[in-house]
Structures are given as C-alpha cells and as structure tokens.
C-alpha cells in the first residue's frame, strides 16, 4: 500500500477545481461526452486520492494532521490549510464517492443539453467547494467552502435560467442561505474575539478551559443559525423545495447528499464548543426534531415526485440535527452518511423516472412503472425501505441510533424522541406512498408517454448506491461500533451521547421504531394501492389538514406577506420618499435657501439712487454706532 503524504491532500480539492477551470474555458470545445468524462475523471481521481489518504485511519495508525497551503488573512488567523482527520476523511469520501456516482449518472441525464459541458464544470466546481468546506482547517476557510457551495447551488438551481421559476429559486436559495450566513458570520466574529484566531486547533485547544459558558452559548447559537440556513431547518427551510427547479442530479448531489449536510458537519466539527453550550445544543435538537416532524407532514401532501423527496430531505436533516443536538455527533454523522447513500439513490431514481416520463414530475400521472423500469424500480425500492428504517438496511441503523441516544438523554429529550418516533412513522408513510404511486398500480401516463429504462450510465450508479444503502449501515451497529471507533480521533475529549447500554433496551427501542415504520408503511400501502378516487377519499378524510400539508402550511405566502412585502415597501419608502425627498431634498433645500436669501435681499438693489444713498447712510450709521459704543461714548 502506498502511503500518501498528507501534504498531497490539496490534490483532492485541486483535481475537481482544475477540472472545473478546464471545462469552463475549453468545455464547449471538448463537446458532449468528453467534457463529462473529464469531469468524472477529476471526481474519481479525487476519490482515489482521498481513499488512499484515508487508509491509515482505517488501520488505526493515522493521526489527525494539518497542512498549511498559504496564508490568507493573517490578521484574523485565517489561512488556507487542510485538516485531515477521520471526520474530514469520512466527509471527503462521501462527497467524492457519491459525487462521482452522480457525475456518472449525469452523463446520461444531461445528454443533449446545450450547456452540457457547463453543467459538468459546475458539478466539478461544487465538488471542489464542498471539499474545501470539509477539509478546511479553520473557520474562515470553512466559510469559503460554505459560501462557494452556496454559489454552486445558486448556479445549478438556476441552471435552466431561461425558466423564471428556476432563476427565482436560485436567488431564493442564496438569499435565504445568506440569512443563515449572517448568523454564521457573527459566530466567526465571536470566535475571533474570544480566541484571537479562527483556526480549529487554536479554538478547540483553548475551548475547554477558558471559554465562558455564555460566550460558548452565543457562538453555538450563531453557528447553529448558519447551519439552519444551509441545512434547511425551520425557519429557513423554504429554499430547499424550490431548489428542485435544478436538474435532478443536482438535487441528489447538493440538496440531498452533500451540501445540505454541511450544517450538520459544522456542528459536529464544533463539538468542543457545543459541549460547553448545552443550551445551544438543546436548541439545535429541538429545531431538528420540530423540523423533522414539520417537513414530514408536508411531504405527505406532495404530489410532485421531487418535492416529496425535498421535504423528506429536510425531515431527515432534522434527524441529524436532533442527533448532534443530543451530542450524538457520531450518530449524526452516521445518519449523514447513510442518508447520503439512500437519498442520493432516491433522487437519482426519481430522476430516472422523470427522464422516462419525459420531464413529468407529477406522481398522479405515473403508476405502474414497475415493469417499464425494473432497475429503477428495484433500486428505488431498496432506497425506500432504507429510509423507512427497516432492518437491516442502512437507514435502520443510523436512525435507530439517533432515537436511542435521544431517548437515553431523558427529560426534555424524551419529548423529542416521541417526535422522532412519529416522524419515523410519517417517513415510512410518505415514502411508501410515493413508491406505490409511482411504480405500482395501473399506469396513469398521459398520452404519448412511453416510459423506458434509463441508459446504463444512469442505472449503474443506482445499483452502486443501492448496494451502499443496504450495507452502509453495517459500519456502525450496536454490536460493532466501527464508525465511532473510526471517528474517535476527531472527537477527542468530547463527551459523546450514547444509546442506553444493554441488549434489552436496544431491542425494545428498535422494535418500537420499526413498528412505527411498519404502521406507517402499511397505512400508506393500503391507502394508495388503490385507484386514484380512493386516495382522494382517503385524503379528504383529513379535511382541511390535508390542504395545509399540500400547501406546505403556506409558509412561503406567510413569509411573503409578513417579511418580503413589508421589506420591499420599506425599501421603496426609503428610496423614493426618504432618500429623494428628505435627504436629497435637504441638499437641494440648502441650494434653494441660498437662492431664496439672494432673492430676499435683491429688492435692496432697486436701481434708485436715493435708496442706494439710504443704504450707504444706514451702513455708515451702523458702523459709527458700533465704533462709538465700543469707544465708550
């Protein structure tokens, strides 16, 4: 085995970045398949380098290391430096691994698009940005990646920019993220003013002894604000459903597997700070649980195949938040990983379906695709089972661990556990509902649509991801805590939350969770494995509530009327009343005043000699009077 020096890790970022740069300038000239091949090669090479570099951690010989690339802003302790520890290694592998698969998938999915090369340039750029985020050795560089993935998200959501909705969605994503970044920036400022540096090592080394509780709480809360934006949690999740305007591989890569999990990563990375800030952790957990439930209910009501998955992603991210909020960082990262597998799988599967349906995304127009697309059917089925949390698939292990930890925390967390449990039920419900509506039953295809299985480049990634979704959970089971052991060096000195010890409690909790999933799954199957009229009756039984779910509680409208519209009115008032009227008016007013003063004294200049004499006389009198008064007369 070749030992890869950690100094060479910059290659992991440089490879996709180089690919992006190259494609940016010569992509059009390269033409359709070759541009894609180049991008895939860059991504795979990065995966290869990362895998080679990660080997020492697997063998247990590796030590976390940090390598400086170059100084950036020395005044605030910000430089380009790469940290290589198990956590970043795991993230890197997930990003490059899943990313490579999605690259390959896109070869088929984006076939024929006029901006094919540009798409791959963006994908490569995204990969590089995400790697910058996870490999950053300090908060400033983390923020670079953090914002760059936001940029890529913006570019890719509005990739089909001629569609106004896509352009608007891209902007919305960026702006909403920026609101979270506002918090993140404040966190950075707090960190800098507390520690005088932004580098991880500088911060974490001192965090334990010296950081005051209140400061830690504020830092934690502000970091969480950033994470809430990026990971689409309440109240900033509204951008993610709209982000589905982007091409489906983008949804899979950015808005399911990688970018949106950055928030979870940041909280996990900042574990030493959160450890000192239980309040912040509690808030994170509460937000996560609430979001998980909230989004799951909305997912139930969706009929767009991608929007279901979008809300599902929000809900699953809520789980991860719940985990890291409960200090179960390993569990959170674990779920992050498994979720990357199965959600990418689901999205890619959905993409395959959409591809087959000629771009249609409404599930009510699908049905019975089982025969037409067997591979997609099978792999997506695995994904559904995995996310629904049935053993022994990946989702079961990670979700189960989260619920176990939360339950074990007791107190307030018991409520959150209950919420998580209900969410598990709902998750199974909406996933099975989707699966049934798409693949089972009778075809409800519109005229002229002839679904067909997708090309090999698309199905191969599906299969690989399906395999990972099945086996991925086995890295960390209650029986063999492989992942936890692997990640240990990254959480040195941090007290991790754990599920209760003991086989009985583990089994009971698992059974409850799986039972909830089974109930949900069964309900969905029986409700939807029937003709459409029957579902409608089923849905009507919920009354108004179903409408709320369908419309996502009208959060967008509420934000629109409560925030956007008043904000815009305010801006208009400021621009056209205040600025033009008052501020500029004052300036012009001074000018007018000067003229008015001139006009006021103008009559003195009447042209009449006698009056001129009078002014002369008056001036003289005033002058003499002053002199005499002064002279003491």
């Amino acid at each position: 085995m070749i030992e890869l020096p950690t100094e060479a890790l910059w290659l992991v970022i440089a490879l996709p970045l180089g690919g992006a740069t190259l494609l940016h300038f010569v992509g059009r000239w390269l033409g359709e398949p070759r541009a894609g091949y180049l991008a895939c090669a860059a991504s795979l090479a990065a995966f290869g380098v990362a895998a080679a570099a990660a080997v020492p951690f697997l063998t247990g010989e590796g030590h976390p290391s940090q390598s400086l690339l170059w100084e950036w802003m020395p005044a605030v302790g910000a430089s380009f430096e790469i940290v290589w520890d198990p956590l970043s290694a795991l993230m890197t592998l997930v990003v490059t691994g899943v990313g490579s698969l999605i690259h390959i998938y896109s070869l088929g999915y984006m076939h024929g698009d006029p901006r094919f090369a540009r798409f791959f340039a963006y994908l490569n750029l995204f990969t590089a940005s995400m790697l910058t985020l996870v490999l950053a050795g300090n908060y400033a560089m983390l923020f670079v990646g953090w914002e760059l993935v936001g940029l890529c998200s913006y570019l890719l959501i509005s990739f089909w920019f001629t569609r106004p909705s896509a352009a608007a969605a891209g902007k919305k994503a960026f702006v909403v993220n920026r609101i979270g970044d506002f918090g993140f920036l404040i966190a950075l400022m707090l960190i800098f003013s507390s520690f005088g540096t932004l580098s991880y090592s500088g911060v974490f080394d001192r965090a334990g002894d010296e950081l005051a509780g209140s400061a830690a709480t504020w830092i934690g809360l502000m970091l969480a604000a950033g994470a809430i934006g990026k990971s689409a949690q309440i109240p900033l999740y509204v951008w993610l459903p709209d982000a589905m305007e982007g091409p489906t591989p983008v949804s899979a890569l950015i808005h399911a597997a990688t970018m949106v999990t950055a928030g979870v990563y940041v909280i996990a990375r900042s574990a030493p700070i959160f450890e000192l800030a239980p309040t912040a952790s509690g808030v994170v957990a509460a937000v996560g649980a609430l979001t998980a439930l909230w989004a799951a209910t909305i997912a139930i009501g969706q009929s767009d195949i991608k929007r279901v998955l979008a809300y599902s992603t929000i809900s699953q991210l809520g789980y991860m938040f719940l985990a890291v909020g409960a200090t179960a960082y390993v569990a959170g990262v674990f779920h992050l990983m498994t979720h990357a597998f199965f959600k990418a799988l689901l999205f890619l599967g959905a993409g395959s379906v959409i591809h087959a349906m000629g771009g249609r995304q409404n599930m009510e127009e699908m049905g019975g695709l089982r025969k037409a697309m067997p591979v997609t059917f099978l792999t997506m089925g695995i994904g559904v089972v995995a996310i629904a949390g049935f053993p022994p698939l990946a989702g079961f292990w990670s979700k189960d661990e989260i619920l176990g930890v939360v339950f074990n925390q007791g107190g307030f967390f018991t409520v959150l556990w209950l919420v998580g449990l209900i969410t598990a039920l709902l998750t199974a419900f909406y996933m099975i509902r989707q699966f049934v509506m798409v693949f089972l039953g009778r075809p409800r295809w519109p005229e002229g649509v002839v679904p067909h299985e997708s090309p090999r480049s698309m199905t191969v990634p599906l299969v690989v991801l399906a395999v990972l979704s099945v086996l991925g959970g086995l890295v960390n089971t209650p029986f063999r805590l492989g992942l936890e052991h692997f990640l240990e060096p990254s959480f040195e000195g941090v007290k991790l939350g754990h599920p209760a010890e003991g086989v009985v409690s583990i089994l009971v909790l698992a059974a409850v969770a799986v039972g909830a999933g089974a109930v949900g799954a069964a309900m969905a199957f029986f409700a939807y494995h029937r003709p459409p009229e029957a579902w409608r009756r089923f849905q009507a039984a919920f009354g108004k509530v179903w409408g709320w779910w369908e419309e996502g509680y009208r959060v967008d409208e509420i934000y629109g009327t409560m925030l956007v519209a008043p904000g815009r009115r305010l801006a208009e008032e400021a621009a056209f009343r205040l600025d033009l009227g008052v501020v500029d008016g004052a300036v012009n007013g001074v000018a007018r005043l000067v003229r008015a003063a001139g006009t006021l004294i103008r009559p003195a200049q009447s042209g009449l000699i006698r009056q001129y004499g009078l002014w002369f006389g008056l001036g003289l009198v005033a002058l003499l009077a002053w002199l005499l008064v002064r002279g003491g007369l």
Binding site: M73, R178, D181, F182, S193, G196, A215, W218, D584, A586
Partner: protein, 514 residues
Amino acid sequence: MLTLLVLTPLLGAVVVALIPARRRELHLPLGMALSVAPLGLAGAVFFSFDAGEASFQMVEKVVWWEPWGVSWQLGVDGISLGMVALTAILFPLSLAVSDSISHRRKAFVVAMLFLETGLIGTFLALDLLLFFVFFEVILVPMYLIIGVWGGERRVYAAVKFFIYTAFGSALLLAAIIALAVMHASQTPDGLLSFDYLALLALDISPTAQMWLFGAFALAFAIKVPLFPFHTWLPDAHVEAPTAGSVLLAGVLLKLGTYGLLRFNLTLFPEATVSLVPVLAVLAVVGIIYGAVVAIVQPDLKKLVAYSSVSHLGFVVLGIFALTSAGLQGAVIQNVNHGLTTGALFLLVGMLYDRRHTKQISDFGGLATPAPLMAGFFLFMAFASIGLPGLNGFVGEFLVLVGSFPSLPALTVVAAFGVVLAAIYMLWAYQRVFTGPVSGAENRKLADLSPKETAVLAPLAALVLLLGLYPGILLERTAPSVEAILDRIEQHTDYQAPSPGRLADVFLSDSEEDS
C-alpha cells in the same frame, strides 16, 4: 520616481493636446497607450516597495511655495500603495471602453489623463496643501467628464457633484490652515508648515482636535460618501459616462476613506477615539441604508451607485473600528471595491452602449444572447456580494471580524448588509439576465467583443487573485496600519482590543444587551 509617476499622465495629456483635433482616431488609442506608462511605473513602485517597512518610502521633497512652507512632497506607504496601483490599473481600462465618446474626444482624453495625475497625486502627497491642491483640482476634469460627456441631466449632476464636494473641502482648507498656523505657533522659528510629517508632531488640544477632526471628516464624508451626504453620488453616477462612473466609484470615492485613514486618525487621535461612535454609526447606517435603497432602484447604474454607499460604509466602519484587522480590511476593501464596482460599471456601460438604456425593466434574459457578459456580471456581482474566494469577501470579512471586538452591536447590524447585498445584486441579475429573452432588441444583443473581454479579464483576474491571495497587498499594508494604531494608542488612553482575551467576550455580551 513618484514625481515621475504623478507627472507622466500630465505629460500624456499635453501630448494628446498637441495632436490636432482632426486626427480624432488617434486620441483614444494614444491616450490609452500613454496611460499604460503610469501603470508600469506604479507596478515598479508596487514591487520595489519594502513590505516590512511602516513609514513612507521613496519620499521626495522639493520646496514649492517657500514663504508658506509648502513643499512638493511625495511618498508612499502601505495605505496609499494599493490605491495608486488601483488608479493606474483603472485608467487604461476606462479609456479602452470610451469608444462611445463621440464628440470632443481629444478633450475627453486630456481630461482623463489630467484626472489621473490628480488622483495619483492625491494619494502620494505628503504635504497637506499639496494634498488639498490635488484633492480639489480633480474636481475640474471629473466635472467636465460628467458635465460634457454625461447623460441627460448631466449638468445638474455635474454641478451638484462639484458644489457638494467643494463645499466639504472648503472647511478642509480652513482646518489645514489652522494646522499650519498651529505649527507656526508651536515651533521656535515660527514658520508655517504643511508637511504632514511635521504636523504629526503638533500638540493639539482636545477641543481643537474635535473641530479640526470635524472639518476633515466632513470633507471626506462627503467624498466617501457617508450617509447622509451621499445624494450627489447616484446623480453623478447615473449621468456620468462609463469611464467617469468607473473612476468615480473606483477611485474618487476612495479619496474620502483614504483621507479619513491618513489624516483624521493620525493627526487627531484623541478626537478619533471620542468620535468613533458617531462615524461608526453613520457608516453602519450607510451600509444598511445604501443596500436597502439599492434593492428597489429601477436604474441599474443607480443600483450599483447605492451599493457603493453600502460598501464604503464597510470601509469606514473598518477604519473606525480601530483594530488591526479592521484597518487592514478597510485598506484592502478600498481596493476591492474599486475593482468590482469598476467592473460592474464597465458592464453597465457596455449594456448601455448596446441598448441605450439602463432601466432594469428594459432588459430580460440577456444571458441567452450574451452569456459571456452575464458570466462576467455574475462574477463581479458575487465579488461585490462578498463571496469568499473573491476579493470583496476579504475586505468585508476583515472589517467585520476586526470591528466586532470594539463595536460589537454595530458590527452585527453591519453584517446584515451582506444579506441585503445578496438580495439587490442577485435580484438585479435575475431581472436583467435570466428568464426568457424579452423583446427583439434584447434578442439580438451582441455578446462581449474581444476587446471588452480583454478589458474585463484583468479585473476578474485581480478580483480572484486578491480573493485568494490578498497577502500580496496585506503584507504591504500591515506595517503601516499597525503604525497608525500604535500612534493612537500612544497619544490616547485607547487600547485596541486584542482579540483572544476571553474576558472581552463577557464585555461584548453585556454591551450587546445594552
């Protein structure tokens, strides 16, 4: 060397003036070629600059108006270095995009070169009166550039620009005179002096400092422009021709922030420390106000103009944070804003040349016919928004992180400006470049010509370079900035917060509550 740098453009102006007006095809290329000479000189200065040195370098001094102690004294330090380089870079580019100047081209080129001399001179002057002379004299070419080659309301805008800024500098002159007289009364030989370095040694009473600070600050605040003195700016920008807008935003506004940094902080340290709240509040109000007002502007140029108000608020905030990081951020943000906003104005100008309108509503979906232009615009927009990796972020980030320890509450408010920046920039981009193409004229809009690309590409490269490796500038500015801070700490009981003392965080917590 510095004298040569200052006078080369003037020489160029004379050369162009000597070309007969008939040969109008010669004026622009010649002017461009001549403006490359100062660029070369500026480059030489930049790279021969000793990065470890805090004091002025390459100082040249010639007695000028001897009876009054006025001298032609030039020197460069870390604070002026970047501005000189920026000025030298923007001029050839601005001239390159001035093809649309159709009448009195010769006069235009002469005015531009004259302006360059004035600007470089302002940044290099070490004699207060010399500084004032340059500071004031640049009004004339700029006034002509707006007033002769501008848009419909050009005369109104030009006069407003001239009077407003001249008004500010009137009090500046009075304050400079006061300093010179003070020098005469405090030195044994009783001579007047305008020498900046000599004036630094003055012992100025706190009350006098307040007044003088006020006079200096007013002049510079109008130039920056700081809220509420900003209303000349949108008018001037909207009416100015492209080159005028580029230089106005790129360099002229920086005279204000440069002046605050160079003179207010060092000459009046006590007043600086006690007036920090006033200026910092104005800066933050400007950040938010400029951004909010920019959101709803129907005119693209006006939007960019208001964004300048917002961005320069960051610079002022950084200056009055009185921390090392804040000051460094202010210096580099000065340069950054010149590059990005300069480029944005270039792009708006290119749009205007094609469509003869700047109204956002007249455009739509331009990314389809003009992808390259859209790409550059988006790039510069993101630089302006403060995307890490591009230059705007470095400045803003240093300013924010640097300001937080000393002005926590204000900095938090200022940080919200980055959210607003994303809103106005991306919304504008969305309306102009994305969506289906609207209208026949937009459909057949030409993409960037090779020449236009060549103008924008160096700016983009610099934006990227400064974003990723700001050290090239920061290492040169850091010693000078530290020197300013040291000076303030020596002359007042002010102590720059040293981040990393965890106790400070408690303080900031309680301040945030109050």
